[in-house]
Point group: D2
Chain length 305, copies 4
C-alpha cells in the first residue's frame, strides 16, 4: 500500500499561481486562454489522426436520477402537443456543473479569492444576468485538437488509484515514457486513474475523499502548454488549503492559466478503444452550447481514431 | 417576380413516402437511419478537408428573449452559491425544438400519422418518460462528415428567396453545377435561401408563410444518399396537406428515410467564409447531448476548413 | 380480516356517470361545478365555526426528494443575486399532480374518454398552451366553507385500512352516526383511512394497490351535494375498469359532477386536533394560484377551529 | 402639483431600524415576527367580518409574458401524458419575487447589511440549499386576520399618486379619519396609491421611479402593531440610501420588525368592492406554499366580506 499524498504549503500554491499565470500573454482582452495554443497548424495536424474513421463519445448520459452525488438531477419533461400528435417534444432543465454531467467550464467559472483570469475581478465579471467576461460563449467555435490519454493507473500498476492518492508530475512523465508519446503544445490530455472501475467495485465515490491533481502536475501542464485538461480526477478532497484555494486545481487552472477544463468525462470506453487499437492519441472534437453569460455547458466530446 | 410554388397532390406525397422509405434497409432494429451512410472511409476522407485549420460555429446563441417566434425562450438562471463565492454557477431550461434553437432532431421526433421510422408505431415509441426508440441518444457518437453548402439564393440570382417560393430538385442540381461540386453518399447538405438576410430587411419571418423544401427535392436527397439535411428552409407554410403531412418534409425525412435533420443553423457566417475561401465543402462535426429518451438536442455544429 | 372490496361492473359506472352528471345544472358555461353549492349564506355560516381561533395547515411540505412515489420532485433553486447580496432569492419548478404534492385539480384535469365536464370535449379544451375551459383559474376566488372530517378507520375499528379495501357509502353514513354530524350541501369532506399512519409502519404506499372510494360512495357525495372532496384515498388500484375509467373516481367526480378534488392532504394533524378538541367540523380556507390554463395548483389549505 | 418627497438622512433610518426592532420580543428563536400579533381572539373577531359571504381574490394572474418589468416570466408547460390521454397535466417554474407575482416574503428574504431578523446573520441563514431560519415555511399555518384598505389616493384627492411621491404617516392617519376606521394590533393593511390605474393611462411603471413608503410611515406601522403590510407601493426609487438600505422599507420591515410583506397584490378590484359595499375592512385569508428553505411563495390572498 502506498503512502497517502502530501501537499506543499499554501505559500507554494500562491507562488504557483503567479508562476503559471497567463495574464496578458494573449492580450488584455483575451477570453480564449489556453485555447490560443490550438493554432491552425495544430488543427490540420490533428485532423490527420483520423486514420480508422472510428468515432466514440466520451460523455456520460444526462443523469435524471437523484442520489447523494447528484442532488439536483437533470429534469427531462415530455411536453403536451395535441390530442392527435404529429410528433413528440420535450424539455430539459439542468445545472452546469456537479459530479455527474460531462461539461466544459467557462474560464470565469472559478475564482482565486475574487481574481478571475487575465486580471479581472469577480464582482464585476459575475452578475445576476450572467458572466460578462470569459463566459462559455467565448469558446463558441469549439475545440478541435489532438487528444492524448495518460493512463496513470497503469503507470502505478493498479486497476484504480485509492482516494487518498494524487497525480504528480512524475506520473505524467512516466505515462509518457510507458506509452511512448510526448504531450505537446495545444494538446488535450485525459488523465485516467480508474475511478469508474473503482466505483463498480466499491460503490459511488465519496466526494469528501477524492484523488487529486497535485500542484506540481499543474506546473507540468503549464510548461507543456496543454490546451485542455480532462480526467477522472481534479481537485483533491479533503481540501488542504484555505477558502482561497478551496478547489485549488480549478482555481489555478481557470483563474491563473485560463486552462480549459472538461469535467466528468467517460473514460472507460476511451481506455478500451485505445488499448484495442494500440493508440494513445486521437482527434478530439467538442463544442459548448452558445450560452451567453454561461458558466459552463454540457457537452458530448467525440474522440476520432 | 416569380410564380408561387405549386404542390403535387397528397397522393404523390404518399407515394414519395413509400419510394424513399428506408424501412429494413439497415436491419429491423436500426436507429441510425441515414447516419449509416457515414462510413469509416467517409470520416477519414472528411478529415482530409481540414486544410486551413479554421473553425466556425454554425449555431445561433441560445435565445432567452421572448418574441412571437420564440414564445417559450431558454431560461438561464445564475444560482446561489455562498456569501463568499469561490465561483459562479448557473442553470438552463429549454425546449428542444422551435424556431430559434439550433438543434438536432431525434428520428422519432415526427410521425406520419402514427408511423415512426423503421416500421415502429408512435403509441409505443413515444411515452411520458421519453422515446423508447430512435431517441436522440441513438446519435450519441456524433456526426463527422463532409458538409456541402448549396446556395440556392445565388442560383436564383436573388439576395433571398420570397416566402411563397420552394426549393426544387432542379435548384439543387443547378447549385451543384454553379458551385462545381457533387453531393455524395454520407454528405451533410446546407441549403441556403437567404432567410436571415431577408429578416434583417423585412423583419422576423412570418411562420405562417415559409419557403419550403419541395417534394421532388426530398426524392433527390434520397437518391443522393445524404446523411444530414440542414438549411434555412424546411417545411413550406401554409401547409398544403392534411394533418398526416402537417409538416411533410419532417414527416417524410424522419419517419420514412430516417434522415437526420439539423434545424435552425446559422448560415450567414458559413456563406461568408465559403465565399471568402472559394470553397463549398468542409468538415462538419457535431454531437447531441446524451439525453436518453430525448426528442432532440441543442447542438453547436462546427465547420472546419 | 375483512374481505377484499368487490367492484360493480363497468356498466354500473356508466350509469353512475349519467346519474350524477351536473351537465347544464348551473348553465352551459359554468366553470365552477360543485363550488356552486358554496353560497353566500354557506360562507357566513362557515365563518361562524371559528370559535377557538386556532389555525392548522393541512398541506404537506413540497417534496424535493426523488423516490419511486415522487419520480419528478419539486426543484428548488437558490438564485444568484450579487457579490454583496442584500437578500436571498429562489425559484421553484413543479408538476401539478402526482402523489406527494397537496394540490387542487382543475375540473378539466381528467376526462371520461374525451368527455369533459358540462359537455365539453377534451380535444378542444386541452391545448398545448393550456386548458381553455375549466382550468384552475376558474377557482380563483378560493374555497371558504365548512370542512368535515370523516374518520373511516375509526368506523372500521382499525388504525388504518388495508390496501385492498374500499370506502363505501355505508362507511360514510356510519361515520356520520359515530361522529354525530351530518354532511350538508356545500361542505368539504375529508375522508381518513389512516394511510400516513400505515406508511410509518409498512413503508411507502405501493401505488399499484391503493384503498379506493367505491362507486356507491360517489353517488352518496352527489346526493349530499358536497362541494369538495379530499381524503387519503381516491381511486382504487389496481383499476378494475377500462381506460375510459382508468381512474374512475377522478373521471366521474371531475367530468360528470364537476366535483372539486383536493388531492394529497396531510390528514394526521387534522385528526389529532379534531380529537383533541372533540370536533369534526371546521372552517376550510384555500385558494389556488392564478394559473391561466392550468390543470391544477399546489395549495396550502388551512383549517380554522 | 405637489412637491416631490424629501427623505430623512440615512442616520435617521439607522435609528429607525433600532427603534422598531422586535429582536427578542417573542423569544430568541421566534420565526413568526409580526404574525405574533394575530392572536386567537384576533382570528375569531376577524371571522366575524364575514357578513355578506362574498369572496374576492386579490392576486394577479401568474404572468408568462416577458416584458421589461417581467424579465424572467413564469414558465407554464403542458406535459406529455399518453397517446390516448385520460387527462391533462402541466408544470410551472417561477421565481419568487419581482414585480408581477403576488407573493409573500419570507422574513429572512432581505437583510440590512448581513443582519437578519432576531439577531441572525445572513451568511449563516442563507445557504445554497435554502434559508435555515425564517424561511417561508415558518408561515405555514397561514394568515387569517382583519384586512383594512387605506386609500391614500383618495386622501390626496387624486386618481393616482405621481411616481415621485411618498406615503407618510400623516397619510395613514388621514385615511383612517376619512374612512372612519382605526388600524389595530394584528391587522393586515392594504395601502392604495392607484398604481394600476396609472399604468392603464401612462403605461407600465418605470421601476426606477416609484412611489415609496416613507420612513415615518414605517414607524407608524410599528406603533400600530400591524401584522401584514401590503400595497401598491413599497420602497421608493430611486433609492436615496446606501447599499445597506438599498430597499430600505424591505430592510427595516423584514430584518428589524419581522413584518410580513405581501408584495404585488391586485388592489383595483378590492377598492371597487369596498366602495360598492361601503366597507374598509374584511377578513383576509392566505397561506404560502410549504417550501422548506424558501425565500417567499406565490399566494392567492382572498378577501371575504
Amino acid at each position: 500500500m502506498s503512502e497517502p499524498r502530501k501537499f506543499p504549503p499554501e505559500s507554494d500554491v500562491e507562488k504557483l499561481f503567479d508562476d503559471v499565470n497567463n495574464r496578458g500573454r494573449w492580450g488584455p482582452d483575451d477570453e480564449l486562454g489556453t485555447l490560443n495554443y490550438i493554432t491552425s497548424q495544430k488543427r490540420v495536424a490533428a485532423a490527420g489522426l483520423v486514420k480508422a474513421g472510428r468515432a466514440l463519445s466520451i460523455a456520460r448520459d444526462l443523469n435524471t436520477s437523484q442520489s447523494p452525488n447528484n442532488p439536483s438531477p437533470v429534469r427531462h419533461t415530455m411536453c403536451y402537443q395535441a390530442h392527435e400528435p404529429i410528433g413528440a417534444i420535450d424539455e430539459i432543465a439542468l445545472g452546469m456543473h456537479g459530479f455527474t454531467l460531462t461539461h466544459l467550464d467557462a474560464i470565469a467559472h472559478v475564482y482565486r479569492g475574487q481574481d478571475v483570469y487575465n486580471g479581472r475581478n469577480a464582482s464585476v465579471v459575475a452578475t445576476p444576468s450572467g458572466l460578462t467576461y470569459c463566459d462559455i460563449l467565448a469558446q463558441k467555435d469549439g475545440i478541435f485538437t489532438r487528444g492524448v490519454l495518460l493512463n496513470i493507473a497503469r503507470v502505478r500498476g493498479v486497476p484504480w488509484m485509492a482516494p487518498d492518492q494524487g497525480v504528480f508530475a512524475a506520473d505524467l512523465d512516466a505515462a509518457e515514457r510507458l506509452q511512448r508519446i510526448r504531450v505537446e503544445s495545444g494538446d488535450a490530455i485525459f488523465v485516467y486513474t480508474g475511478l469508474q472501475k473503482r466505483e463498480l467495485t466499491e460503490g459511488p465515490e465519496n466526494l469528501g475523499q477524492r484523488v487529486g491533481i497535485m500542484p506540481d502536475a499543474i506546473r507540468w501542464m503549464h510548461e507543456r502548454e496543454i490546451a485542455v485538461y480532462s480526467g477522472d480526477c481534479v481537485d483533491a478532497f479533503p481540501n488542504p488549503y484555505s477558502l482561497r484555494y478551496a478547489i485549488y486545481f480549478h482555481a489555478v487552472a481557470l483563474a491563473a492559466m485560463g486552462l480549459i477544463l472538461l469535467d466528468i468525462p467517460a473514460l472507460e470506453p476511451l481506455v478500451e478503444i485505445c488499448d484495442a487499437m494500440g493508440r494513445s492519441e486521437f482527434l478530439l472534437t467538442m463544442a459548448p452550447l452558445r450560452i451567453k453569460g454561461g458558466t459552463g455547458s454540457p457537452v458530448n466530446p467525440i474522440a476520432l481514431f
